[in-house]
């Protein structure tokens, strides 16, 4: 895009919708991810006219998704804990499908910062400096959180590999 040209919001959704959904899935699991995606793009559309033309749209969207996911997690914590055994099957309560259940359990068990850093670096492909901007703290801390997150995932979910990860 040349300077002073803002592309139609539809193009932003087309280009980044898939990535933002994958990020939301890592942050929240399959079920809540859809609500977070909707909240993210609605808020983004509201703010879009004020986004500088040369801004990195993906980093901007991930920043919004980050805040929306925190809102969802807070709301979830306010809800009472489920009673009795947790079933293995999807039950509409935010527990993802069985096929990604094991990995999700491992992802969910990560400390928030590690899970976020993994999502923003390995799923969204953001640079550590951008991730530091979202999480607060230094670039090194963001790099460390992502590395620790991957290490923990490998330990708890042996099928995990990091083939093709961005440098």
């Amino acid at each position: 895009m040349s300077r002073g040209m803002k592309q139609p919001f539809e193009k932003v959704v087309e280009q980044h919708g898939g990535t933002v959904l994958r990020v939301c899935r890592v942050l929240l699991g399959v079920h809540d991810a859809q609500d977070a995606w909707s909240e993210t793009f609605l808020a983004a559309m509201r703010a879009y006219p004020d986004l500088p033309d040369d801004a990195n749209a993906e980093a901007w969207l991930v920043t919004i998704a980050h805040r929306k996911a925190i809102d969802v997690l807070r709301a979830r914590k306010r809800q009472p804990a489920p009673v009795g055994d947790v079933p293995d099957v999807p039950n509409g309560l935010g527990i993802p499908d069985a096929e990604d259940g094991d990995l999700w359990q491992a992802v969910k068990a990560l400390p928030d910062k590690q899970r976020q850093a993994v999502a923003y670096h390995y799923v969204a492909g953001l640079a550590y400096a951008e991730i530091a901007g979202i999480l607060g703290g230094s670039t090194d801390a963001a790099r460390r959180a992502a590395a620790d997150g991957i290490k923990n995932l490998r330990k708890n979910y042996p099928g995990a590999t990091t083939k093709g990860a961005p440098a």
Partner: protein, 199 residues
């Protein structure tokens, strides 16, 4: 990255995304954020892009105009809050279908002429007064809008009509009866005139 092909790295399934995009269109409309809604429809003259603001239909574009470019222009001139959201265009799509199948002679749609200014907009406002199946010359239209010497400016107003077909610039001809210019080419203009003549 391939922590799990299913979970982290795989493309989100297209069904989920298209459902979410559809839902976004509805939510944006409900929140008053959908400044420009658009869709595309098939017609005997190729794919048409239809775009509407909350005020009304604002743009009809032929494929030859390059729909991506048209959307960029709408984004710059009206608002970047542009989404493919067909619902707002339902009535326009239906009326155009009826027109192309010779079941409609008059369009009954709210229009937003804000892409045109001044004299051009004045001319475009008057063009629907030329009835279905009739034609006028550029000079007659100049007289119609009260500025008989502005023949050339009428030509420009027709050439820059943001709502072809709906605002019938195709009914304006040269004094010698030849079609004159048209955004989608003289063939398209002739096709519309023939369609109306045959009805």
């Amino acid at each position: 990255m391939n922590i799990s092909p299913d979970y982290f790295a795989s493309p989100a399934d297209p069904g989920t995304l298209s459902k979410l995009r559809h839902r976004l269109g509805l939510a944006a409309e409900a929140e008053g954020l959908l400044d420009v809604a658009y869709t595309t429809i098939d017609s005997p003259l190729g794919t048409l892009l239809l775009a509407a603001t909350p005020k009304g239909l604002v743009r009809v574009a032929y494929a030859v105009e390059d729909h991506d470019r048209v959307l960029c222009t709408l984004s710059q001139r009206l608002s970047p809050r542009v989404l493919r959201a067909p619902r707002r265009l339902d009535a326009a799509a239906r009326e155009l279908d009826e027109y192309f199948s010779r079941q409609r002679r008059v369009f009954d749609l709210p229009l937003d002429l804000s892409l045109s200014k001044g004299f051009r907009q004045l001319v475009q406002r008057h063009l629907p007064e030329i009835g279905y199946g009739q034609t006028r010359t550029y000079r007659q239209v100049a007289e119609l809008v009260g500025n008989p010497r502005a023949v050339r400016a009428v030509g420009t107003a027709c050439a820059t009509n943001p709502l072809p077909v709906i605002v019938p610039c195709h009914r304006v001809l040269r004094a010698d009866g030849t079609p004159g210019g048209y955004v989608a080419g003289p063939g398209a203009k002739q096709a519309l005139l023939s369609l109306e003549a045959a009805a």
